[in-house]
Symmetry: C2
Subunit: 132 residues, 2 copies
């Protein structure tokens, strides 16, 4: 694995750790300061802009959002940007699958986008009639 | 709007046009040739790798996947990479929301990742108890 991939996966782990530990300060640090930011929580419409996205995280971290564990993360590095594809497991909840987009800001990889959604059929086979 | 944003939104439109017109050749051209490729169709688990992703698109374009219209697309350019956040509307189906990640390959913006998922509550407000 290349150093950038390792660094991106570490940033991805830090994101799920901040979520699990309800660490709002870490979450604020993890999201991009300069790059445009967006977020799509499962079942939500898109949130655009840092203020709106961070407000959603404050609500989730201060509320009763379930604890999530990241699984099977793969990092795909594209120069100064990278995306991670991973599973999200919630105790007692449906499996989720997520995209996390990171951008390099100075020496750090920071999140600029997150989308998570439910997996109806947790395999890499296409369920019949599924929509793109 | 900056020229790159316009070009990215044009590539995004071309993606939905290829989907609507069941144009497999255009779809093959739209996806990155060099960059790593992944795709998360609604309800599916993640597909990684160009071969697997293009196989899924062949299945969808040759099958009875519904016709989708893209709405409210915004382009977020990060140097040689960009992501688009947009809605997807299906006649008679639930509203979807999608992330499309593009990478510059030569003079073209090409897709390297797509995730779409259902919107339970189509607004920018947080539904109670929603998960991140």
């Amino acid at each position: 694995m290349f150093p950038d991939e390792i660094a991106v996966l570490e940033a991805n782990s830090a994101f799920y750790r901040a979520f699990a530990e309800r660490d709002l300060a870490a979450m604020e640090e993890l999201w991009a300061q300069q790059a445009p930011v967006a977020c799509i929580h499962p079942g939500w419409d898109a949130l655009r802009g840092r203020e709106r996205v961070m407000r959603s995280w404050r609500g989730l971290l201060e509320g009763d959002a379930p604890r999530i564990r990241c699984t099977a993360a793969s990092a795909h590095v594209l120069g100064p940007v990278a995306f991670v594809v991973c599973g999200e497991r919630i105790s007692g909840g449906p499996p989720l699958v997520a995209t996390n987009v990171f951008v390099r800001e100075g020496s750090r990889w920071r999140l600029c986008h997150h989308q998570a959604g439910m997996v109806a059929q947790p395999s890499e086979e296409a369920p019949p009639g599924a929509k793109a």
